[in-house]
Symmetry: C2
Subunit: 252 residues, 2 copies
């Protein structure tokens, strides 16, 4: 993974949900399973094609949407990594999540009818924009799409509950690395080599730890031979043991 660039550095892997021909359209993307993998007919596929709008690229730091913006659409990440966060009155940041290609953002805006958080590109990001009114209308015609929306909304509820427990720093970090690895693997990347698109500070904030604690725990994991860390590149050396650490969080 990674490829030479003109400046001689190795490009960080930048996962992308590639469009192929029409029948492989966004096959790795949020609705791929609905459009292609689950036997939706050509008409539904065509309808989604008409609905979707490619937006981007955004550069690192740019916002896809901001807190308070009127809710009009949900987005599927196409390439790159997106951070969702809210900023409180005192300017402190609270990271809600990181979103890889194929994942949806903006689902939490349906209820308040305004985005309740910022979505910020961590690297170069492209997204697919789905007008929500149009998507909802389509969902009334195509039950598979309605079902997929229900499923993804439901999944987000459960995922959020995971980190909410009072777990130790070791458990949190282990669970974070394991789930990130799984999500990359689901997208066809090597299971046990992952690139962190976010800074230590962002990780720490998301995990409700201090950046210093993240640093220390990663080092300890490495000293114990569980992982190998090189800046933002992490190799998982002993997946089973890391998973065992994360078990209190990941087991359901």
């Amino acid at each position: 993974m990674g490829q030479d660039r003109s400046d001689g550095r190795i490009a960080a892997p930048n996962p992308i949900a590639d469009d192929g021909d029409e029948y492989r359209f966004c096959s790795t993307c949020a609705f791929g399973a609905v459009c292609v993998g689950r036997g939706v007919d050509k008409i539904a596929l065509h309808d989604l094609h008409c609905l979707v709008e490619h937006v981007g690229p955004y550069r690192a730091g740019e916002a896809i949407f901001r807190t308070g913006d009127a809710f009009t659409a949900i987005y599927a990440v196409r390439s790159g990594t997106v951070k969702t966060r809210l900023v409180d009155l005192e300017g402190r940041e609270l990271v809600l999540g990181f979103h890889l290609p194929g994942e949806l953002i903006g689902l939490n805006a349906i209820h308040p009818e305004a985005y309740p958080c910022d979505a910020v590109a961590l690297d170069t990001v492209e997204v697919c924009r789905f007008s929500f009114p149009a998507l909802a209308t389509l969902a009334t015609r195509i039950p598979e799409i309605q079902q997929e929306l229900f499923r993804r909304l439901s999944k987000d509820i459960g995922d959020n509950a995971l980190l909410a427990g009072d777990y130790s720093a070791d458990e949190r970090l282990a669970a974070f690395l394991v789930t990130l690895g799984q999500r990359y693997a689901d997208r066809g990347f090597p299971v046990n080599a992952l690139h962190l698109a976010m800074s230590r500070g962002d990780m720490a904030n998301y995990l409700r730890l201090a950046a210093e604690t993240v640093s220390r725990v990663l080092r300890r994991f490495q000293d114990h031979g569980l992982i190998r860390v090189d800046g933002r590149e992490v190799a998982i050396v002993k997946p089973a043991e890391l998973y065992a650490l994360a078990r209190p969080i990941l087991q359901r």
Copy 2:
């Protein structure tokens, strides 16, 4: 609130979403806004009537559903209070939430297609059961119902994120009391007098604190004149100051 009972004690207030006549059916209930408040016609109302199934009463401690049960239905609490929780491999409990009349439970089961948690009655509980396949089918016919489901799913995502931050014990407890008060008030109960259906231990578990800490913070709040505590009855004396404490959590 509260009424005499034969044993001479005062009954704890037990909120109920009362059925009235057909047009006030579950007016305080989850779908009230859809069925009645938002101009859904009689046919839709009738359809929901046909769909819903009243279940209960459950006695304190009984389960409405259990972890791993096949997902077939979502439930709206009709009366009483429900606790959702998961129990990990070592038998430790993790409280996910408390659900008052009019609130839905089971939404987080759509994705895994099995309930990922237990739902346990804290007092005498009645629920409305909605077969999910039937509800989803109805939603394709009646966009208002689909929309309401989307909204409620979306709301649960946001709500879960609230407690996830690393807040102090004071902030957590203040936010808990304020939101509980709001939810009771939304159901027509006095704004600043609330009855806690759950034990200190359950509160503590939900807030990711120790029971002792909950006890201490409540006492300190009372010593500072913010609230008055009498067992599980809590009077909010200074709502504004309590809200100010909770602001870091509640402001968006």
